[in-house]
């Protein structure tokens, strides 16, 4: 009997290994090893085509070079601003819309949720193409709508001051619904008794949500915050499709700069250093945010 159990346990640990190895094996070969190789390349000088064995060790000079170049510093600053602008707009909007979707007593709430969520599921490239035509200064509808309101026409993607904001608006439109769905999921976890008790105590709308909803939504908001940061810091598709970093580098972001450094200029070492810097920033920021929200 004991022997049979032992052999069962052994066979189970074999299946453990067997079930794990396809998934983990792929993650190791196509995620873990490439990260290590990127780190390795970032310490070497080499083109995209040169074999690993012929790359020349240069220590941290690639990192020094990218930070000396104003272009990468600009790209980093731009992507931070992009991320921050998205956070500032999406976080409050997703809470408000989440509350509205959850509480409003109107027909068509499900339709509203679907419509909000839909853009998140379509290719960012397609969204960028459509918004590119919406922003078109002469033939596009946005400036036409502004003119009805007697507001001046805007340069949108063609303007140094507005291009980044235009990309932010595009992203808010596309991803807001996803965060709203997360907020609604968080709201359904809050027991209704709290609100009833608060209402009996005479708490108004703001007071109820400030003292009940926000604190109890903390975990959800932490997730929204972290995912939003991770997703926005790696923005690439709309920049590549719509602006290629222009006008005057105002929409140049880290991922785009890294891509052209690798694939247009062929400088694998510099591009890998950029990738590692972004990886470090993403990891540090997400861990900091998670810790911050846990301590609240």
């Amino acid at each position: 009997m004991i022997q049979r159990q032992r052999s069962l346990i052994r066979s189970r640990s074999l299946t453990t290994l067997g079930f794990l190895s396809p998934g983990l094996g792929l993650l190791i070969v196509f995620v873990a090893v490439p990260i290590l190789l990127t780190a390795w390349i970032s310490l070497h000088q080499g083109s995209m085509a040169i074999p690993y064995s012929r790359m020349r060790w240069v220590g941290f000079s690639n990192y020094a070079t990218i930070f000396e170049q104003p272009i990468f510093r600009t790209a980093l600053l731009n992507v931070f601003l992009y991320s921050l602008a998205n956070l500032v707009i999406i976080l409050p909007l997703s809470i408000l819309l989440g509350l509205f979707l959850y509480q409003a007593q109107v027909y068509g709430r499900n339709v509203l949720r679907t419509v909000l969520f839909l853009p998140y599921m379509i290719p960012t490239v397609a969204v960028a193409i459509v918004w590119g035509y919406l922003y078109e200064p002469q033939y596009g509808p946005l400036n036409e709508i502004l003119s009805w309101l007697h507001l001046p026409a805007q340069g949108w993607l063609g303007s140094v001051h507005e291009a980044m904001l235009s990309l932010v608006i595009l992203n808010v439109w596309q991803t807001l619904g996803y965060y709203v769905v997360m907020v609604v999921a968080g709201l359904t976890e809050i027991p209704q008794e709290y609100y009833e008790a608060a209402a009996l105590d005479g708490a108004g709308w703001w007071r109820r949500h400030w003292s009940i909803t926000l604190p109890l939504l903390r975990r959800t908001l932490a997730f929204v915050f972290v995912i939003l940061t991770i997703n926005t810091l790696q923005v690439f598709d709309p920049v590549y499709v719509l602006t290629q970093g222009s006008p005057v580098n105002s929409t140049d972001v880290a991922a785009y700069e890294m891509y052209i450094t690798a694939f247009n200029y062929g400088q694998a070492g510099l591009a890998s250093a950029m990738a590692m810097v972004m990886l470090a920033i993403v990891l540090v920021l997400s861990l900091l945010q998670l810790r911050l929200f846990r301590s609240l």
Binding site: R12, F19, P22, G23, L24, L26, L27, F30, V31, P34, L37, T38, A104, Q105, V106, V111, L112, R113, T114, V115, F117, P119, M121, I122, P123, A126, I129, V130, Y133, L134, E136, Y139, P141, E144, W173, Y178, V181, M182, T188, Q192, E196, A199, L200, F223, I230, L233, F236, D237, Y240, V241, A255, M258, Y259, A262, F263, A268, M276, M278, L279, S286
Partner: protein, 288 residues
């Protein structure tokens, strides 16, 4: 929910009507903002070159023309791109489903040393931006002569941390007694997984399949780096190409027709199965 809203609001009839009117106004406003780009996409795809050049812009063409939906297949190998996207997406999705179910089952129901560390490692892969792996992956595929091929497009996308995480979350909710009963009947772990666990997993598996399908279909960075000949292009890649090569405003209808076709699978899947998407997001609170 409606109970508490009603219970404490001391409202007269007029006030209730006002609140309802305001709510519907909000709904209308949100719908207008969210649907407008879709409207413009459809309208532009049906416009003639004259409509496209008209100032002020034409909102809806007087004579909607569907010809651009045919032209897009003539100016670019769009049918081939659709086929490529389907092949790549179906293979990737199948791979993600299988690897995620097996690994998720082990993480949920097996005990072994180092399990938590390993699982944290799997979760950590979700935080890593795609472009961090890009250069070595590209070099790997070139070295294996797999660049510009289906395997090159598919291989790096056969497993992901999100899928394993999602499956683990669902399988953890299956009672152990159910598994033990099957084990006492002499079922192997393999039969157990496919006969007992997977049938209970259907909604979760549906969510994963849909997410994986949509995100592989939408993928841009990897095909952009991997593909260099038109006949290996994916739909999303072709859309970018169409837009780049048809900069004149009079070709907008063709680009928009292609875009409308390109988003159709994602739109239909989302409308058809949004329940699963929403459940997937709600259960994990996260997406990869």
């Amino acid at each position: 929910m409606s109970v508490y809203v009603k219970s404490y609001r001391r409202h007269g009839r007029a006030r209730r009507w006002l609140s309802l009117a305001l709510q519907y106004l909000c709904v209308a406003l949100i719908l207008a903002v969210m649907l407008f780009p879709f409207f413009w996409l459809l309208a532009s795809s049906l416009k003639s070159p004259e409509d496209l050049e008209a100032l002020p812009p034409v909102w809806w063409p007087a004579h909607p023309a569907f010809s651009s939906y045919r032209t897009v297949f003539e100016v670019t190998p769009f049918a081939r791109a659709i086929l490529n996207s389907l092949i790549v997406t179906v293979c990737s999705t199948t791979g993600i489903l299988l690897t995620s179910i097996m690994a998720g089952y082990v993480f949920a129901k097996h005990q072994f040393r180092g399990k938590n560390t390993l699982f944290v490692g799997v979760l950590a892969t979700m935080m890593v931006p795609q472009f961090v792996m890009l250069i070595p992956l590209y070099r790997m595929m070139v070295a294996l002569h797999l660049d510009n091929t289906y395997p090159g497009l598919i291989l790096p996308n056969l497993a992901n941390g999100f899928g394993i995480f999602l499956m683990r979350q669902f399988i953890a909710g299956i009672p152990d007694e159910l598994l033990e009963a099957a084990r006492l009947d002499g079922a192997s772990e393999w039969t157990l997984l496919w006969r007992v666990v997977v049938p209970l997993l259907r909604p979760a598996a549906a969510a994963l399949v849909l997410f994986a399908f949509v995100f592989q279909w939408n993928n841009f960075l990897w095909p952009l780096s991997m593909v260099y000949s038109p006949e290996m292009s994916t739909v999303v890649l072709s859309l970018n190409g169409l837009r780049t090569y048809t900069s004149s405003v009079t070709f907008t209808n063709i680009v928009m027709a292609g875009t409308a076709i390109g988003i159709l699978p994602s739109v239909l899947l989302t409308l058809w199965a949004q329940r699963y998407f929403i459940e997937g997001i709600s259960l994990t609170g996260i997406k990869g």
